[in-house]
């Protein structure tokens, strides 16, 4: 029963979901489109919760057992605790709402300091607010105390102000919340730095590993260079005729390797260079002609032909694999999800 029940549930839901795509039956369609997706959302939310607990458990075990790299695990726990505190406990995101500012001359200097404006500019802002409307200072107040001191100053200056806190959930996206601050000033720079390092490693790895060892490697290298240069503006500024000359010299090198005869090589070099030069003079050396030697055109061709062919083959393969796996799940052949 412990084995059969999950398999039966998976098979039934699998069949219904599959039929939902092919059968125009309102109840099944409603289940697939609305109910099943909402179940999935709920499960996904719980999965995040379980994932967080699992992360904590794994890292805590590492720290307790003093396993290799345990200080990193301790740092992960500290980061998690800080994020949790910022997201759920120390919400922050307080703002100050001024409801009465008829005494704008005395309020403006206080407000100017909070919104980084000059006093005259602040007075102008206050003067255009219609009577009965309010003005909200959206400076980042992480604590209630910070907002409270501004409220006290405004009230003492003859105005009326109140503290407003962002709603639960909305505080994440509000400037002045600790979580928002953490995302902008800790997570963003760290994440961007890690990704930016890739450029350095790509350069170093290309220098060492991108070698013309055989035909396939040569093909990869040439297409890599065309893509790298053709995608950026500098590639568009390299004349097609320059590439044409390089191709002629490469062909002459091929003639030399093949025939091992100096005369033939000389004929190939001189003849090739002459043909390209005469053609250039006749056509007026247009930068993007002949198109076959213009890097952006070549790059576009590689993207749209060999690349798409390869991508399609991979996609079809993945599709067939997903289909086969799904059938195995629906028919109860695949049982890895119940630990078998």
């Amino acid at each position: 029963m412990k084995r059969q029940l999950p398999i039966a549930i998976a098979a039934t839901i699998g069949f219904i979901t599959l039929f939902g795509w092919f059968v125009e039956e309102p109840t099944i369609k409603s289940f697939v489109d609305d109910d099943a997706t909402q179940w999935f959302d709920i499960l996904a939310s719980f999965a995040m919760f379980l994932g967080a607990l699992n992360l904590l458990k794994m890292q805590a075990m590492k720290v307790i057992r003093k396993q290799r790299g345990w200080p990193y695990a301790a740092l992960a726990i500290a980061g998690f605790t800080f994020s949790f505190t910022a997201g759920f406990i120390m919400l922050g995101a307080y703002s100050v709402e001024i409801t009465e500012f008829s005494n704008s001359a005395s309020i403006a200097p206080i407000l100017a300091g909070e919104i980084n404006q000059d006093v005259l500019g602040t007075q102008n802002i206050l003067s255009v607010i219609p009577p009965g409307d309010t003005y909200t200072i959206r400076a980042p107040y992480f604590t209630e105390g910070g907002a409270e001191s501004v409220v006290e100053q405004i009230n003492a200056a003859g105005g009326t102000a109140e503290i407003r806190a962002a709603e639960w959930g909305a505080h994440i996206a509000t400037r002045g919340s600790l979580f928002n601050w953490m995302f902008r000033f800790i997570f963003t720079p760290l994440s961007a730095t890690m990704f930016a390092l890739l450029a350095f490693f790509v350069a170093s790895a290309s220098f060492r590993a991108f070698k013309i060892r055989n035909f396939e490697a040569t093909l990869l290298l040439i297409s890599g260079i065309i893509i790298m240069l053709g995608r950026v503006p500098i590639g568009g500024n390299i004349s097609a005729w320059f590439i044409f000359y390089i191709v002629v010299l490469a062909l002459a090198a091929g003639v030399n390797t093949w025939f091992k005869n100096r005369t033939y090589t000389l004929i190939a070099v001189v003849g090739g260079l002459l043909v390209v030069t005469i053609a250039g003079f006749i056509t007026g050396w247009p930068i993007d002609q002949p198109g076959i030697f213009y890097l952006p055109v070549l790059q576009d061709w590689i993207y749209n032909n060999p690349n798409v062919a390869g991508a399609r083959a991979i996609m079809i393969g993945i599709g067939l694999g997903i289909f086969a796996s799904s059938i195995r799940y629906i028919l109860g052949i695949e049982k890895s999800y119940i630990g078998e």
Binding site: T37, Q38, D41, G169, A173, S191, F207, R231, V232
Partner: protein
């Protein structure tokens, strides 16, 4: 000559820290001293521009932010440029996020474009629905009934209280769909579960590396145009006539690519000399 060849062979085993310094300079210098290289829009970028250009004031565009700080340099400039184009045409913009970081990226873009540049009103001209976990299921939910996925927006306001949400219930109510995507869930899922079954016109902006994966959908017409990485963003900026961070980044990327190609060529020359010598002896 032999000494020169020796030098090249020795340089072939260049310390990687030297390479790092050269790359750092290649990226930094053009940022301080821009070259102003001309940007030529590709067909796929032009296609995105044409699709947006066909939209009229009051039309509804659904934008999905699926990227984070790591891919921000590639995707964010195009998201900003697209927002500029849409809001300048008074198209109503609805934003969802399939990635949790996407909400922060969307906020930043909206603050820069909707608030500061165009002075648009939240809830009337644009709305940020926010993030929900669930990947494809969220897309499928939006196709079926937006209000079952989002009861409130990112500010905690009920959808029924937001003026521009009146009459917007499903993905098919939108005139245009754009996925700013850096991976899964992203463009491919939007095509498979929303744009294709519903028939909404869709375009996308992805990282350069993702273009390979998405290109088959562009070629088949399921996606109308693609902005590929920072070059795509720069091309879009040139099309709308507002240079931004994508354009300024292209000089740096151009020089960095040239330097990498130079390293590859140099590494191969060294490799050939070494191989010839080993054959000789």
């Amino acid at each position: 000559m032999e000494k020169f060849l020796d030098f090249i062979v020795r340089a072939g085993s260049l310390d990687r820290r030297v390479i790092f310094v050269v790359i750092a300079l290649a990226v930094m210098l053009p940022l301080f001293f821009p070259l102003g290289l001309p940007i030529r829009p590709t067909n796929s970028s032009q296609q995105v521009y044409d699709v947006v250009e066909e939209l009229e004031a009051g039309d509804k565009a659904l934008l999905s932010f699926e990227y984070g700080p790591s891919t921000k340099p590639e995707i964010h400039p195009m998201a900003v440029a697209l927002l500029r184009h849409l809001l300048s045409k008074d198209v109503k913009v609805y934003i969802t996020c399939l990635w949790p970081d996407g909400q922060f990226m969307a906020l930043e873009a909206l603050e820069q474009v909707a608030d500061k540049q165009y002075g648009k009103v939240y809830g009337e001209d644009y709305v940020l629905l926010g993030y929900r976990p669930g990947a494809e299921a969220i897309i499928k939910g939006l196709v079926s009934n937006i209000r079952k996925v989002f009861t409130v927006d990112s500010q905690g306001d009920f959808l029924d209280d937001i003026p521009m949400m009146a009459g917007v219930n499903q993905v098919k109510d939108f005139d245009f769909l754009f996925s700013a995507s850096a991976g899964y869930p992203g463009t491919v899922e939007w095509v498979q579960y929303a744009a294709d079954p519903v028939g909404v016109t869709m375009s996308t902006g992805t990282t350069s590396i993702q273009v390979n994966e998405v290109m088959p959908y562009v070629q088949s017409g399921q996606i109308k145009g693609i902005l590929g990485g920072m070059p795509g963003a720069a091309e879009y900026e040139s099309l709308i006539g507002q240079a931004g961070i994508g354009t300024s980044g292209m000089d740096a990327q151009s020089v960095a690519h040239i330097v990498i190609v130079a390293f590859i060529i140099f590494g191969n020359i060294s490799f050939f000399i070494e191989r010839r010598r080993s054959k000789k002896y």
